[in-house]
């Protein structure tokens, strides 16, 4: 087990080395969430005096935005952590070293988590400084929201990384776009009840829906539906296990096809 810890530690450090050598990569991590936050911040200020719904809970749009960014940044951070190995044509060295698949996935997940936090904590503080809105006012459920959304985003990132490993970098667009397909049915900015019934069924198969419904319940009704969060947590764990299995499936397929040695820029 100590060997596993050492190898996971090595992989995380490898990503920290890259961040240290490239300030632009860190700036990029903060830039897009910051732009979105500023835009939605002003939008909220514009709507506040005009819409009673928003007036009841001025933080709804910004909370939705910041929590959705947890999903987007989580997926992007994980995909980039994996793509770093492909871009540098390093997969061959990595896969013949003693690091196991689950250790690699764990190392990449930890690196992705750090990157997500590096991007979102400054933006959440900017929201508080510029618009007087603190996401931390959601209290303890925020931790649960964050954990659920991160695990879900990692599951998509792992599956997409596996796909890219198998078919090559032509599939890279999927890594960036995959989560956005789920945005309309996750109820980020509106309740799930506005969706057609058949889409609601799909929506409740996603842990994200419970998080955004839960967020609105806290801000509008000051109620925490812990049992629904528990269900969302279980769903996220199931998605994460499935994401890792898909990654392994693509890894085995790549070993059969011989695509591990030929990937790179």
């Amino acid at each position: 087990m100590s060997g596993s810890v050492g190898r996971i530690h090595a992989l995380v450090l490898r990503h920290i080395y890259i961040w240290r050598s490239s300030v632009m990569r860190l700036v990029d991590t903060i830039y897009w969430p910051a732009v979105q936050m500023v835009m939605w911040g002003f939008m909220t200020q514009y709507l506040l005096p005009q819409a009673s719904f928003v007036a009841q809970a001025g933080g709804i749009l910004l909370s939705g935005l910041l929590l959705w960014e947890v999903v987007v940044r989580g997926n992007l951070s994980l995909s980039i952590a994996f793509l770093e190995e492909m871009w540098s044509r390093n997969l061959g060295h990595l896969f013949v070293s003693p690091i196991r698949s689950w250790e690699m996935a764990t190392g990449i997940i930890i690196a992705a988590l750090l990157r997500t936090l590096l991007g979102l904590i400054p933006v959440s503080l900017m929201a508080w400084a510029f618009f007087g809105f603190s996401i931390y006012s959601l209290g303890l459920p925020l931790l649960a929201f964050f954990a659920i959304l991160q695990m879900f985003s990692w599951s998509i990132g792992l599956a997409m990384s596996g796909l890219i490993m198998r078919v090559g970098q032509s599939a890279e667009t999927f890594a960036w776009a995959a989560v956005f397909i789920l945005m309309p049915i996750s109820g980020v900015y509106y309740p799930i009840s506005v969706l057609p019934h058949w889409l609601q069924v799909l929506s409740y198969g996603l842990p994200t829906s419970y998080v955004f419904e839960g967020m609105r319940a806290i801000l509008l009704q000051h109620t925490v539906h812990w049992h629904l969060l528990g269900l969302a947590f279980a769903l996220s764990v199931a998605y994460l296990v499935a994401g890792f299995q898909i990654f392994l499936w693509f890894f085995r397929a790549s070993r059969r096809a011989g695509s591990l040695l030929s990937q790179g820029e």
């Binding site: 090595a10 050598s21 390093n90 070293s97 003693p98 070993r255």
Partner: protein, 257 residues
Amino acid sequence: MLAVPSIDVRHLRKVYGEVVAVDDLTFAVQHGAVLGLLGGNGAGKTTTISMLLGLLEPTAGEIHVLGIDMRRQRYAALPRMNFSSPYVDLPHRLTVRQNLLFYGRLYGVKQLRRRIDEIAELMQVAAFLDRQTGKLSAGQKTRVALAKALINKPDVLLLDEPTASLDPDTADWVRTYLKDYQAQTQATILLASHNMSEVERLCDDVILLQSGRVFDRGSPRELIERFGREDMEQVFLDMARGRGRGLEALRRNEAAK
């Protein structure tokens, strides 16, 4: 001394669709020996090395390295192996030192910083340890790749064209180093190469591969004598062009198919 061969390959086969990349390859490399895999482009050298390392799943056959079944227990053997290939790079944005730290940690190397200083001195990379790997010249990158390949003092070293794209001086330096390293450590080395003088100089035994099959095998001296030639370059050309002894072997192999 191990009782079993360091590398033991039996009836290895790899098929992509209708293309047979490696066909019924059987060989063994004894502890402390250097085996050369020699063949033209597409002969199956890189495919064979990839299967030995577990990067590629064989269609059929058995691979044992250090007595360990690579298809079932590769993680038991990998810490005692390493490899270098021009088809795989080290992360460009990491410095040489960071790359060696990264791989040293993956291989569980003890007293890693001391080992990095030692290997940097030996491979003459100490002067650019803190430069980004992507900014080095081809010769410097090759020396760094070899430093990575030797970081864990492997018992089995797989080298795919270790001197490809190097100038003659650097290539000669690499060959001298590998010869010395092998003599000192008694490591088992499998070397795939296009370079005949390299094979002649480093290898105890050579397998000539053509279209994924064993064309002929023996020590460089045996092969040169058998083909009635003066050096391995001429032997290779006989095989590639199907002339002289090469033609005889070709006919024999065709008949065996």
